[in-house]
Amino acid sequence: MSDELLFFTEVSLAGLGSGALLSITALAFVLIYKATRVINLAVSEILMLGGYLFFAAAAGFGLPAWIAIPLAIIGGGIVGAIVERGVIRPMLGESAISVFMVTVGLGSVLVGLAELTWGTDPRTLPEFMSNTPIFLGDVYLSPKIAIAMAVAAVVVPLFLLLFRFWRGGVALRATATDQAAAYSCGINVPGVFSLAWIIGCATAAGAGILLGAIGGISPAMGVFGLSALVVVIVGGLDSVAGALIGGLVIGLVEALAGTYLGGEFKMVTTFGILIVALMIRPYGLFGTTEIERL
């Protein structure tokens, strides 16, 4: 392999790797949107919270990683359940934008609470991942990014299978298609809502741990969620496959733009893609087109 090609391959792989991280976060958006038609911007802050919960369990109580990780993920799920039951359910039937702003407000509350609990200093998570470099032939891959890819490779198909075969997953899909019909078929629609929020927020918390392991944690780390939001808009708000592919594409494009144009072009390329996607396919590459009737 020539040097230039090797470099290109490595950059692309790294891009796909960070794309995998985006995909996992995007999944959290998709799950919640699919069931409840809510774009939950607080996913960003649940992500941050996941990182901090892991930090509290692993560094604060000195628990080993294999206990701390599930604890943080469960913690994220619990927060999701509380939020859904306490704030989102009373908002049922309100306009989408109102609910969106509720989640923005919630995000702010969560950031403030995290700052009150853990302070505002950025922190480093204890090492829990292997640090052996991975070489595929000559091609280097950062171990943490490789782990992120592996997690995405397991989680996304898992969700696809769950939606296809698991009762709860099918119920979720049914609710997404038609709430009233789902109700009359005996599906516990509010239960489905809670379930979606719990799974969605747990996923976000998990992504937060991965993210924190790479870049450290701080109350402001939630901005990452904004990039994931771009992914879901491009991929389609209600498509799991869209989240995966959208994440990989955005990750790849960001890496290539950052390498060949310069780091300052990363964000602007992402948002450029977003605008183009909105103009061409407003409901995303894989999303369901909504038809409006009078």
């Binding site: 790797g17 505002t120 200093d121 950062s142 780091g263």
Partner: protein
């Protein structure tokens, strides 16, 4: 001018009403000298703000125990800004309407620039702060401000001097965050490097929200520079950079500037941090060389104090020194006199906080020293002598 005069007169007569409105109007105590402070106790810079506040308070305590300035006690009046410019400005306005303030501590480059016209308009105070922005190091544009250390360009110049001495003709990669803070020294660094016979082989700009730096590390690996100079960060994403570089077997030495140089932030990073170098204008708390002021600090505070603490401590020292010299000359405390007095500081002994006697002919103190992190000892160890880039 007319308007101003009228307002003052009316303001005075309306003082009672102001009180009735619940606005705190603390009685002016002419005996007291108040240092105002917009200090970031929370936010991304919170770790620094807490240290700064402690450092300033400690120096003021020492000063007051020695009788204050000309018999007048000194007090620090400050509020948290969360490192947000608009909040800092609000704090400035609040503090200055509560007390008569001639000395001020500001928290960010943005604040220093925003408040500058107001400082010039008032002409009553001088200000220093947590920003070492090169732009502020211009006595013509920022006549009422100074930096309690070298500006960012000078910091990088000190690093370059060190590199040129240690490895002539070395290759350098610049890594900067895509912020005003990060981009500050880039242009001048390149000039300076080529003047010293060093080669800048590339620059990496990271978005401020960047988490994963794999692609940037690949760029670094391709260029294989002898040194990588990081600026515009506090900690992240430096550890990840260093981790991956180590895995890739890169020989590159990593360097940083003042705000990434506190040893406590590196303590959690562990082994990967070993060998990180950077420029530091002050001595560390645990330095063993003779320093009477450090002894005093260690006596007051038995635990490690951060570099931000030293920065606050020294800033308070210089601010009050300016006031001391102004009063000693029998002059009024205003921006012009205070700044002129500050500029008379020549071969001044900081009690060992800075390893060499300092002079402030302009807006900065362009001296510093290279320290290197020793992960085993969890301390920064001196790697060079004091370097001055004063022209």
């Amino acid at each position: 001018m007319m308007l101003n005069w009228t307002r003052r007169k009316i303001l005075a007569s309306a003082a009672a009403m102001t009180l009735a409105l619940g606005v705190p109007a603390i009685a002016q105590d002419n005996q007291e000298i108040v240092i105002g402070g917009s200090i970031p106790l929370t936010g991304v810079f919170g770790f620094a703000g807490v240290g700064i506040e402690a450092g300033m308070q400690d120096y003021i305590k020492i000063l007051n125990e020695e009788g204050g300035i000309d018999g007048r006690k000194v007090r620090l009046s400050y509020e948290d800004t969360g490192y947000k410019v608009d909040t800092s400005v609000a704090v400035f306005n609040k503090l200055t309407s509560q007390d008569e303030i001639h000395l001020y501590y500001g928290d960010s480059t943005g604040f220093a620039k925003t408040i500058n016209p107001e400082l010039d308009r008032r002409g009553t105070m001088i200000m220093a702060g947590a920003s070492f922005a090169s732009e502020l190091n211009d006595p013509a544009k920022f006549p009422a401000q100074f930096l309690a250390g070298p500006d960012y360009t000078e910091m990088v110049s000190i690093l370059l001097e060190f590199i040129a001495k240690e490895k002539p003709g070395a290759t350098i990669m610049l890594v900067n965050s895509d912020t005003e803070f990060g981009r500050d020294p880039i242009a001048k660094t390149k000039e300076r490097a080529s003047a010293l016979g060093l080669e800048v082989v590339g620059e990496i700009i990271t978005p401020p929200t960047a988490v994963d730096v794999s692609t940037e590390v690949l760029k670094l690996r391709r260029a294989r520079p002898d040194y990588a100079i990081f600026h515009g960060y506090i900690l992240a994403p430096l550890p990840e950079f260093m981790n991956q570089a180590k895995q890739l077997g890169l020989e590159t030495k990593f360097m940083g500037t003042f705000w990434s140089m506190d040893s406590s932030i590196w303590a959690d990073v562990g082994e990967a941090a070993n060998g990180f170098m950077g420029v530091m204008p002050y001595r560390y708390y645990y330095d063993t060389e003779a320093a009477p002021m450090l002894d005093k600090i260690r006596e007051m505070r038995p635990q490690y104090q951060s570099t931000a603490y030293t920065q606050g401590f020294l800033t308070a020292m210089l601010l009050t020194e300016a006031a001391k010299r102004t009063l000693a000359a029998g002059q009024e405390l205003n921006a012009k006199n205070l700044k002129a007095s500050l500029n008379t500081i020549k071969d001044f002994d900081t009690g060992g906080l800075i390893g060499v006697p300092i002079s402030i002919p302009g807006n900065s103190i362009p001296v510093g020293r290279i320290y290197q992190y020793d992960a085993a000892a969890k301390q920064m160890k001196p790697a060079s002598d004091w370097i001055s880039v004063q022209e």
